[in-house]
């Protein structure tokens, strides 16, 4: 376990070394948030509510969703590159689980971006836009747990597609399609409140809703008490399901590599 925590810490420290990247990350996150907020302000056109959702709720939802999606962006071609240049076999020889090592390093990077990209961008946003405060302290804690689970779901979806590079020459195209799906179905572009009811129903059966929307709803107090628990339970269910699928592809991939020799 300690080794994995250290992997995350090393990655975190490595990111600190890049000053320019650090400032550009803040600027990038801040610009994305501001642009979207402006568009929505115009769409609201002075109205206080659309479909029972206030501008302030939309703004809060956007800041959380966009901020997190910027922070949770990692190198999704990592496994493909390792397979192509053959260095994957060296990874098998390390006495740690490669899957958990990858996850730990991605988390290290994610935490760095959360603290050094998202937080400053959030403070900057607060200077000019009023956001909803958290509904309650327990709700805020539940939201943090839910964010972590949301990240795991996002990571597992990406990892599953990454494992396909054991069979496919490139997974870049599939990854791009996946990202479009995440952007639309997880509510990065348009909050899920505004989706047509039928589509919303379909999305609720996919893991995408659990990525950003569940944490947002917990934060805004749209989910309360037992609803929070069931929201998190759905997240856990998705993590287990996707984890099993990921492990299946991963084991098969290793088997293929070991038999065919890369």
């Amino acid at each position: 376990m300690r080794a994995y925590v250290e992997f995350a810490v090393k990655k975190f420290q490595d990111k600190m070394a890049y000053r320019l990247d650090f400032f550009m990350g803040i600027v990038n996150t801040a610009i994305t948030i501001v642009v979207y907020l402006c568009i929505y302000k115009a769409l609201y056109g002075g109205a206080t509510e659309v479909d029972g959702i206030s501008y302030r709720m939309v703004a809060t939802s956007f800041v959380i969703t966009l901020g997190l999606s910027n922070a949770f962006h990692f190198n999704e071609m990592f496994l493909e590159h390792k397979i192509h240049d053959g260095s994957i076999t060296n990874e098998f020889l390390k006495p740690v689980s490669f899957l958990f090592r990858m996850l730990a390093e991605n988390i290290g990077e994610g935490v760095f971006k959360l603290v050094f990209h998202f937080l400053p961008a959030l403070l900057f946003t607060l200077l000019h836009t009023k956001l909803c405060p958290p509904k309650s302290a327990p709700g805020l804690i539940a939201m943090f747990i839910s964010v972590a689970f949301g990240y795991l779901i996002l990571w597992l979806i990406s990892f599953i597609i990454q494992t396909w590079s054991f069979w496919l020459f490139s997974v870049w195209g599939i990854m791009t399609i996946k990202n479009v799906f995440v952007n639309i179905l997880a509510g990065t572009l348009l909050p899920l409140w505004f989706m047509p009811t039928a589509l919303r129903k379909i999305i609720s059966f996919t893991p995408f809703e659990s990525i950003y929307f569940t944490p947002v709803r917990i934060y805004l107090g749209e989910l309360n008490g037992s609803q929070i628990l069931s929201g998190i339970a759905v997240q856990v269910l998705w993590i287990v399901t996707l984890g099993i699928i990921a492990n299946l592809f991963w084991k098969r991939g290793i088997k293929k590599l070991v038999v065919q020799g890369g």
Partner: protein
């Protein structure tokens, strides 16, 4: 104790038979040199031993495991170092990679510090600690890789062409390090190379692979005395022609002032030839060629048909 056991192992990639019926036992603390020309199957054989390639047929056990890569306890006792692939983290500094190594191999921090200092002294890697592998030259990188591999004091060490790109002075240090290790009997080493001379210094036992088959397995001295091909001497004569008829040479050719001699060290020493030459003539220039691997392979095959694939 037998650490590595292979029995009738074969491996085919697409249509190429890379390994053919390899049977091999390696005991604890044995130093084995695996030599062969390019494409002989040396790296594949190491990969099979390391568990990253599964043979089509045959029996393989490393540490009693069919596939060592699934067992982290056993993996902690093995290091596989390759001149063409890196164990270091490409995106991290060498120092961070070494610290990751400490955590993965569960090395006590004090032991780690002591061991690191010792290895830094041998491989002179102090200056590279804050750099990333991409900023190092091939030789510098190899030295860092060696430090990384040796930090955990592995019981099994698989070394694949590790002297590639390393300066002569460092090469000498590396060879010295492994020679010392050979005396202390601390690790089991399998070392691949296509230089007979390197392997002779480092290993108790030599395995010669050719086209996926083991064509020699035994002591290095035996291989050299029995199968080493002829040495070659090229001499430019400044004055007076020598008489070479009464020397036990394999072959010689005189071409105006140049003489080329092929001889067998079992029959005649280099100095004997020189003494004989200097009796009658003045020597302008001498060049000596050591026997190479290709010659050795040819000689082992002897009268047999010379196979190239």
């Amino acid at each position: 104790m037998l650490l590595i056991v292979l029995k009738d192992v074969s491996k085919t990639f697409r249509d190429k038979n890379v390994l053919k019926n390899i049977s091999l036992h390696v005991a604890k603390n044995e130093h084995v040199g695996l030599i062969g020309l390019n494409g002989a199957g040396k790296t594949t054989l190491l990969n099979v031993i390391a568990g990253v390639i599964k043979p089509d047929v045959g029996f393989i056990r490393t540490y009693g495991k069919e596939s060592i890569i699934e067992d982290h306890q056993s993996l902690r006792k093995m290091a596989y170092l390759s001149g063409t692939r890196s164990q270091l983290w490409e995106e991290l500094t060498v120092k961070a990679s070494l610290q990751n190594c400490m955590n993965m191999y569960q090395i006590n921090p004090q032991v780690f510090a002591r061991r690191l200092e010792q290895l830094q002294g041998i491989f002179e890697t102090e200056a590279f600690m804050e750099l990333k592998p991409g900023n190092l030259s091939l030789g510098e990188r190899m030295r860092c890789e060696l430090v990384y591999a040796l930090l955990a004091e592995p019981e099994i060490l698989l070394l694949d062409e590790v002297l590639i790109g390393v300066d002569v002075s460092i090469k000498h240090k590396i060879i010295q390090f492994f020679e010392a290790d050979r005396k202390e009997k601390q690790a089991t080493i399998i070392y691949t190379s296509n230089h007979l001379a390197e392997v002779e210094k480092l290993c108790d036992r030599v395995i010669l692979l050719h086209a996926g088959e083991i064509i020699f397995d035994g002591k290095a001295e035996r291989m050299i005395s029995e199968f080493s091909p002829y040495y070659r001497m090229e001499i430019r004569i400044a004055e007076g022609l020598p008489d070479l008829e009464d020397l036990p040479l394999e072959k010689y050719r005189i071409d105006s002032d140049r003489i080329t001699i092929d001889y067998d060290k079992q029959k005649i020493e280099t100095t004997q030839i020189l003494k004989h030459l200097m009796k009658k003539s003045k020597i302008g220039d001498i060049r000596l060629y050591e026997p190479d691997l290709e010659g050795t392979i040819k000689k082992i095959y002897g009268g047999r048909e010379w196979k190239t694939s």
